[in-house]
């Protein structure tokens, strides 16, 4: 595999781990908040705001890598039973649709993101103001990487490389 693709995959894996650590930090924050409320009658300020925007951030951190390891849900029951040629064409198209969808997310969120940086958008009331513009950027980064990963999978499909598959955990 060539260098830029390896770098991109590295970035996806890194973001995935950041997202996971983010979950652990949220857990600690809420646990401290509850303990503070229960034992010291001193809850933290701004926990709901922080948790709220964290959900968006951490989810998009994990989006691209989850696709790469084949964990986004799809049903392969029918395609698995098709002749190889038909399968290649159908999967190429379906990965392309994925790339288009996520590219459209980037496209439609772009102006809002620029605007949020310009006005310094935030969530919550004084004294707790959590800036949201980094989160908006993170959403678009995650969506862009997911679109790239879909495109890479479409190309792999044409070159008949193996695509990673895992079963749904539900």
């Amino acid at each position: 595999m060539n260098m830029p693709i390896r770098l991109l995959h590295g970035l996806m894996a890194l973001l995935n781990i950041i997202g996971a650590i983010w979950v652990v930090l949220i857990m600690l924050l809420i646990a401290v908040d509850v303990a503070g409320r229960a034992f010291f009658n001193a809850p933290l300020f701004g926990v709901p705001e922080i948790v709220k925007i964290s959900v968006v951030g951490l989810v998009w951190c994990q989006m691209a890598h989850t696709l790469r390891i084949g964990a986004h849900l799809r049903s392969t029951i029918l395609v698995e039973r098709l002749p190889a040629g038909a399968r290649t064409v159908i999967e190429f198209i379906s990965f392309l649709l994925g790339a288009i969808t996520f590219a459209l997310i980037v496209y439609s969120g772009w102006d809002n993101m620029l605007e949020s940086w310009r006005i310094g958008e935030y969530e919550g009331e004084e004294p707790v103001r959590v800036p949201t513009y980094p989160i908006r950027s993170l959403v678009l980064l995650g969506a862009a990487l997911t679109a790239v990963q879909f495109a890479l999978m479409a190309v792999d499909r044409l070159r008949a490389r193996k695509i990673v598959e895992t079963k749904a955990p539900f």
Partner: protein, 437 residues
């Protein structure tokens, strides 16, 4: 074109794309955009919906329950809770005929109270319970059926990913849904345990040889039975705190995860290897659920905009059949869909259409949620493509064939249908506990 026709075509196309193997989130999102475009005639309105849904639709405090309960389940598994629970249940029930089977059901039920997904339970118990049953010469297919049947408890007993998703789709309180799930969960646990006992009484050959069990030593037995104290305490804390109104569901998830992490430390499982495993796993479940949630919100906006759901509920209410027939028809749809797609996707595709109908017919939202969830879970066992069965197959490897697991599951599907009938017939099972909150 008439908005309702557009919506019907869109729903049809979603199913076609999903069958063709398009990622479910992609199919829902893309076709919702096209549907909204066709209804409003404004492509930019439709596309801008993508950007706003990806960001603001999931920006909600309550959504943090999903990663937090996932984390709790993963940490509790890593602490070795599954093995301890199975050993303890085996001490309690192992001396009866068919006892290991009942122990598997009970251990699954308790484990289900810390985990939100079914297929994980199927994989774990295939490795823990199946070898033990085969050592005691249980009938092979019977042992596979026991594990498959009891695995679906994972999503019936709270916390459950399905209840969270149902709550999000229908704007019901997730805390109340969790508490509501206790009743149906216990009914299913009891039905499976009694069913196993009856099967062994009728045909003792199934239940293996008791002679192979070593004599019971009271001291070690007591020690094993008390080993999972931490997990039990954690469950009482999380569900009790929710029921008593001391925690929000999000807080319950965080406290549960923190407690599970503490258990890992106490059981000396808090090592680098386990931590990396847990961290790698969170993204897999969290991101895949959230992609579906984002896409499903667009889909349900499209359906609302088209007026399809409202129209359908008027039509259903005017039908000259008893309302329960419509609910039964919904159940058939759930079971059929269970043959092709996973449980969360089924909920996302059907609830935005079925829920308004059920409410219009005068059914309780929480009761309808429980009925849907039990029915969808039964679908995970039915051939040809039951997810739980496939998870067991991949966990057991060459030790079992798909056909063996499916035939083994048949008696359990019948028991579960019986339990479903009980849940349908006695709504207070689902609604009484949450009404006390």
């Amino acid at each position: 074109m008439d908005p309702i026709t557009v919506a019907l075509i869109t729903v049809g196309c979603v199913f076609v794309l999903i069958l063709l193997g398009v990622h479910i989130g992609v199919a829902l999102a893309l076709l919702s955009v096209l549907g909204i475009w066709a209804i409003t005639g404004k492509p930019f309105v439709a596309i801008s919906l993508l950007g706003t849904t990806a960001y603001s639709a999931i920006m909600d405090y309550v959504y943090a329950v999903i990663p937090l309960f996932c984390l709790m389940g993963l940490l509790a598994s890593a602490s070795g809770a599954t093995r301890d629970l199975f050993d303890a249940a085996q001490v309690a029930f192992g001396r009866m005929r068919g006892g290991i089977g009942i122990a598997t059901v009970i251990a699954n039920a308790v484990f289900a109270a810390i985990t939100g997904v079914s297929v994980a339970s199927a994989a774990v118990f295939s490795k823990v319970a199946v070898p033990e049953m085969q050592r005691l010469n249980y009938d092979r297919k019977f042992s596979f059926g026991i594990v498959a049947g009891s695995a679906i408890l994972g999503m019936l007993i709270p916390p459950s990913v399905l209840m969270i998703v149902y709550g999000v789709l229908t704007e019901q309180s997730i805390g109340r849904l969790f508490i509501a799930g206790i009743g149906p969960g216990l009914v299913v646990t009891a039905t499976l345990s009694l069913g196993i006992w009856l099967m062994v009484v009728v045909s003792p050959r199934l239940g293996g040889q008791m002679e192979k069990l070593p004599p019971l030593n009271l001291r070690t037995a007591l020690k094993t039975a008390l080993k999972p104290w931490g997990v039990v305490l954690l469950i009482v804390l999380v569900l009790g705190g929710l029921w008593g109104g001391f925690f929000t569901p999000t807080e319950a998830g965080a406290i549960g995860a923190a407690g599970a992490m503490l258990l890992m430390v106490i059981n000396r499982q808090f090592n680098w290897h386990n931590i990396v495993d847990v961290l790698m796993e969170i993204g897999r479940t969290t991101a895949s659920i959230f992609l579906l949630l984002i896409a499903a919100q667009m889909y349900s906006r499209m359906l609302t905009l088209s007026g399809l759901a409202a129209k359908l509920s008027e039509w259903a209410a005017a039908l000259p059949v008893p309302p329960i027939m419509i609910v039964l028809m919904f159940i058939v749809v759930f079971l059929l869909l269970g043959m092709i797609i996973d449980s969360i996707s089924i909920l996302l595709l059907t609830i935005p259409i079925m829920y308004p109908v059920a409410i219009k017919l005068g059914y309780d939202p929480i009761w309808f949620g429980m009925v849907s969830i039990v029915a969808i879970e039964i679908g995970l066992l039915t051939p040809p493509f039951g997810m739980v069965v496939f998870a067991m197959k991949s966990s057991l490897g060459d030790a079992a064939t798909l056909e063996e697991i499916f035939t083994g599951s048949i008696p359990f599907i019948i028991m579960l249908l019986f339990a479903l009938a009980v849940v349908i017939a006695y709504p207070p099972l689902s609604t009484w506990l949450p009404s006390l909150m």
